[in-house]
Symmetry: C3
Subunit: 203 residues, 3 copies
């Protein structure tokens, strides 16, 4: 079990918790919450694996990933009534999932092909696409496409941190943790201080 | 022509009829109805084939599948005005398509990899995803994500019936028919008696 | 650098400009405009490459494609305020992108498999799907699914022009240009004179 696998597993757990909490907020039942948690946990990595034409999807090689998501949703179904319903609660699993998936996606894309720009894009896609899918299904406007606090930009930045550190041959485990930390801290600050790009059109 | 191919062909026909009828209800033109019928007929199986990294998509190896869908939509364009517009009419082709696709998806996933849980998931994805896509495009809220009569659960159950029967080496053709029947009957009963999961949040 | 590559590059540029302009109309920021331009430029061809199980996606083999889209969006961010905001401005890059992608998609699909019908479908998917994705994300109802001026039909027709010309061994470069011209002219006429299919249901 490599460090990449451990970080991937943490990403799956964080993203599944995010999806399950989000689904419960929008009145879904157990099947809906599993579907949303599934999309949040596997959406980004599936796109990455398909785009890079990898032989097997990461959640098919590791069938305990979807089983873990299933268990999280069962636990959620019995405990959700005792959890507070506040929206900020969603922020932490969302940020953690995004950070871990960004790092894993970047690592895998760097191994699979040569372009740095593509690797950074794959990191950002792996990091954010699951959350976008979950938002769409829950009828939330995905913050990726509106002038909301920076989201994809945090992921993209973290991916570049990893790529540059990798170029300078930094030790991999520390570099992965540092890149993930950049994503989380950048994201939390962006939400806290409402950092955002202006809309393209003035008025 | 194997039994799997025959059942797959029946699934394509049923799902295409469902998609064409659904599109006609929402005021689409011929191109729209073909697009919706195409999504309903090939959405689930395409996702399965991509996820399992099969060499060729089932509707590219069998180009008469999309041609059949095209012909169904042409026939529909000339006869739809004489058909009643009642919503229950949609239920039968929807259930049959779901049942047949569930069985085919489970068979193929069992051949392609080892995990039973993944095979059941693939059966449910193959069975339900085409209908979800068609619903989304027609601006219906997909019943998969709301507390509606059980849908994915019927498909998932039928997939497990097949997997368990297969483990006990039951004769394949009978087992496929039995599993499909479980899906159809379960689904019709769920709609008739409004069986559903409660939403996760009380109140 | 083959003619196919040149036409593909023109298609990417036209589609990216379309996506960027569309995003700016709907109040998106820089990240949103890049995401929409990316979907418009790569959505159709990615689907084609996945469906045909090609070894590498066209925008991963050519990493300068996404970089070009990125640069177009940066230029757009600084110049968009000086551009008029009129909707007809969108029509030309949309039609050109659709035409070039249709031709490239048809060429590639004819090389990858034998069915003419599948090749024409792939041409139409490559030509139109990027625009559909961009429309969906920008909350425009995709004209593909409503009785709007012909769109997919223009693409489908252009694909058949190429396929038939190819069967009669016409010279490839002229044929590609002729097919693309058919798509653009057909599309502009359809919008100008409001050519459309009737909805399936009368009243």
């Amino acid at each position: 079990m490599t460090v990449v696998t451990i970080i991937e597993y943490l990403a799956v757990i964080a993203a599944a918790i995010y999806g399950m909490l989000l689904a419960s907020r929008t009145g879904m039942d157990f099947v809906g919450s599993f579907a949303v948690a599934f999309l949040a946990a596997f959406g980004g990595g599936t796109l990455r694996d398909l785009f890079l034409n990898r032989d097997e999807l990461f959640w098919i090689v590791n069938p305990h990933y979807p089983i873990t998501v299933f268990v999280i949703c069962i636990i959620g179904a019995f405990t959700i009534d005792h959890l507070p319903r506040i929206k900020p609660l969603l922020l932490l699993p969302d940020s953690l999932g995004m950070a871990f998936f960004t790092v894993v996606g970047t690592v895998i894309a760097l191994e699979a092909q040569d372009s740095w720009f593509i690797a950074a894009l794959m990191g950002a896609i792996t990091g954010t696409f699951g959350g976008v899918l979950a938002d769409v299904v829950c009828n939330e406007v995905p913050s990726l496409f509106t002038p909301a606090p920076l989201c994809a930009t945090c992921s993209f930045t973290g991916a570049w941190v990893y790529i540059i550190g990798d170029y300078f041959r930094m030790e991999q485990v520390s570099l992965m943790i540092a890149s993930a930390a950049v994503v989380v801290v950048f994201r939390l600050l962006a939400v806290r201080f409402n950092w955002r790009f202006p809309p393209l059109r003035s008025a």
